[in-house]
């Protein structure tokens, strides 16, 4: 095991990593911007180093500063968390050049999965089902139209470098293709400086289902079941649960095995998530995230496996502590992402938390780095905590979530807690009847009903 791990992140995930390190008896180094000097993980770490001003570019994304922080503290490994440098292959390379372990996959695998076209080709070669579409980038709207005709409308025209919904357009018929292609391409050029585009089958009402995997880099890999993350707003996950209310045991077993076999073939190391759209019993590969995800606690709740501890073990060269036959799924878990945002407009609401009281009791987990008196800085994303609830059944889980939300108090800033209080008592959610468009529709309906009232 490592003797000292530097945590190259902030907020709840920095605290999550710190906890795992402490539980493994590993020393911790917190790095932070000047805006995060009072952060919880900074207070709890064995050592802390200020690495720059509030701007993430100058601090949490500043590779030389982070490497220097490793050098002056003698850290022998870096955990990048999610976001920031977690999928930056160059960072992994630079750490390797300095003899510091990057807690994650190889730089090669990060690069491979970071490029949408290559990622899809790799998925196909590993036997992972993909959305039918262009083999690689398409040259122009004419080629896009030819492919669309083959796979059938509607089709999605999408930037290779894309993400967050930018550089994406739907074409419902042959007439739409040229306009959609040109619009998406110019968006992509503006947003990413890269206008490689591809075309794929467009799914009308899919769910977002993702499979958690863990590999040892030596050809052994296990899957830890799926998470259903269909409840999204502007491509940001809001509510995640496992198991998916839409999958049956046979589907779970089939897609899990497919993904685990693929990762085994790839020789993947560490934690990863293969994301799918799911419609009518079929899975379509979207992308693979080569890092820990925000919603990993949902999987931890139903498997009892500490994913961060497992990441550390594998990165330190130990074998996986679990074999596929040891993985069992117990009960149901739901995570709510609590953001410092207005629950209706989603406008960010940074500021001082004047009263903070998390819920407690059976079956609850709160992952949050805030505390009473903490000032949520305006410089970073608005996630201030995650409420994860576990129950023996989905019904028990939902009832528990409802009472937990009733107990949760965050004063002084606006949060999305009221949104979750609405969701937990919604009949569609109670029935598990939702897809990736449900939440946007629900929010639009709430807005218009308010206008009428």
């Amino acid at each position: 095991m490592f003797s000292k791990v530097l945590i190259a992140n902030r907020g709840e995930i920095a605290l999550r990593i710190l906890r795992a390190c402490k539980e493994l008896g590993v020393q911790t180094v917190a790095v932070h911007s000047t805006a995060d000097a009072d952060a919880m993980h900074v207070r709890l770490a064995d050592e802390s180093v200020c690495i720059g001003p509030p701007s993430a570019t100058a601090s949490y994304l500043n590779i030389p500063s982070i490497v220097s922080a490793c050098e002056i503290t003698g850290a022998d490994a870096v955990h990048p968390g999610y976001g920031f440098l977690s999928e930056n292959a160059r960072f992994a390379d630079i750490l390797a050049a300095h003899g510091i372990t990057f807690i994650g996959p190889t730089a090669e695998h990060i690069r491979l999965m970071g490029d949408k076209v290559q990622a899809k080709e790799t998925a196909v070669s590993l036997g992972i089902p993909v959305v039918p579409g262009s083999k690689g980038a398409v040259a122009d709207s004419a080629e896009a139209a030819r492919i669309a005709a083959e796979i059938g409308y509607p089709v999605l025209i999408k930037a290779a470098a894309g993400g967050g919904g930018r550089g994406m357009k739907v074409a419902n018929s042959a007439e739409d293709v040229e306009r959609a292609f040109d619009t998406a391409r110019s968006e992509a050029r503006a947003a990413f400086g890269d206008d490689a585009m591809y075309v794929e089958k467009y799914l009308a009402n899919p769910r977002h289902i993702e499979v958690q995997v863990m590999g040892d880099g030596e050809g052994r890999a296990v899957h830890l079941g799926e998470r259903d993350c269909s409840l999204q707003r502007r491509h940001q996950k809001v509510w995640e649960e496992a198991p998916s209310p839409a999958l049956n045991a046979a589907e779970r077993q089939r897609i899990g095995k497919t993904v685990a076999d693929a990762m085994s073939k790839l020789g993947y190391r560490g934690a990863g998530t293969v994301e799918f759209l799911y419609e009518d019993g079929e899975f379509y590969f979207i992308e693979m995230n080569t890092r820990l995800q925000v919603e990993h606690p949902v999987t931890e709740a139903i498997t009892g496996i500490d994913l961060v501890a497992e990441q550390l073990r594998v990165a330190a060269g130990s074998p996986l502590s679990i074999r596929q036959e040891d993985v069992t799924f117990t009960g149901h878990a739901i995570e709510c992402r609590i953001n410092a945002e207005n629950p209706e407009t989603f406008a960010p609401s940074p500021g001082r938390i004047t009263y903070y009281h998390p819920p407690g009791g059976l079956g609850l987990r709160v992952d949050s780095a805030v505390y009473q008196g903490y000032r949520v800085p305006p410089h970073y994303d608005s996630l201030i905590g995650k409420l994860i609830v576990h129950g023996r059944t989905r019904v028990e889980c939902m009832m528990r979530l409802r009472r937990a939300l009733d107990e949760f108090v965050v004063d002084g800033i606006e949060t999305t807690l009221p949104l979750f209080r609405d969701l937990v008592s919604n009949p569609d959610i109670a029935n598990g009847m939702y897809d990736i468009r449900w939440l946007e529709d629900f929010l639009a309906a709430s807005r218009s009903s308010e206008k009428i009232a």
Binding site: R43, S48, P53, P64, S68, I72, T73, Y355, Y374
Partner: protein
């Protein structure tokens, strides 16, 4: 309370607010024959009480707080107007090579732009230039000492 025009005496509220701050009260309420007025300010508990949660604070050079604890302002070099903070994380060196003369010593007069220290980060030597001309009244780092971003290096007055 009178039934005529409700002019509020903003000046009075301001005065009471000042008094509230001065006396560290959270509430003042005053009533006399023609007026009742109440001002309040709810403060939350000071966050520093959390520090008891830190079990074994390992104090080390790299951990020097840069102006973090406001109760410690006096004598905090980071608050000194002549402070030269470290522009990056790294290792501070006072001379261009081991054994060489330091760039500056206490009492030296320096010109704006003159190299006063080096901070090494990722094998790269970053020269720290004097941000203003003046006299070096204090050198706050040892040769070879690890420094954080913003950590005070020296004071030029």
């Amino acid at each position: 309370m009178g039934d005529k025009k409700h002019a509020i005496d903003k000046e009075l509220v301001r005065e009471l607010a000042e008094l509230l701050k001065e006396t560290e009260l959270s509430e003042i309420e005053i009533e006399n024959e023609d007026l009742r007025i109440r001002v309040a300010r709810h403060l939350s508990a000071p966050a520093r009480s959390l520090s008891v949660a830190v079990p074994e604070e390992a104090p080390r050079a790299g951990k020097a707080p840069a102006g973090r604890d406001e109760s410690d302002d006096y004598g905090d070099p980071a608050r000194h107007p002549g402070c030269v903070p470290s522009p990056m994380v790294g290792t501070a060196y006072r001379a261009s090579s081991p054994g060489a003369r330091p760039f500056v010593e206490v009492g030296d007069t320096v010109r704006e732009g003159q190299t006063v220290l080096i901070v090494e980060a990722m094998k790269h030597m970053n020269e720290v230039a004097a941000p203003r001309s003046g006299k070096v009244t204090s050198v706050l780092v040892e040769d070879g000492q690890p420094v954080e971003y913003g950590e005070p290096l020296l004071i030029i007055e």
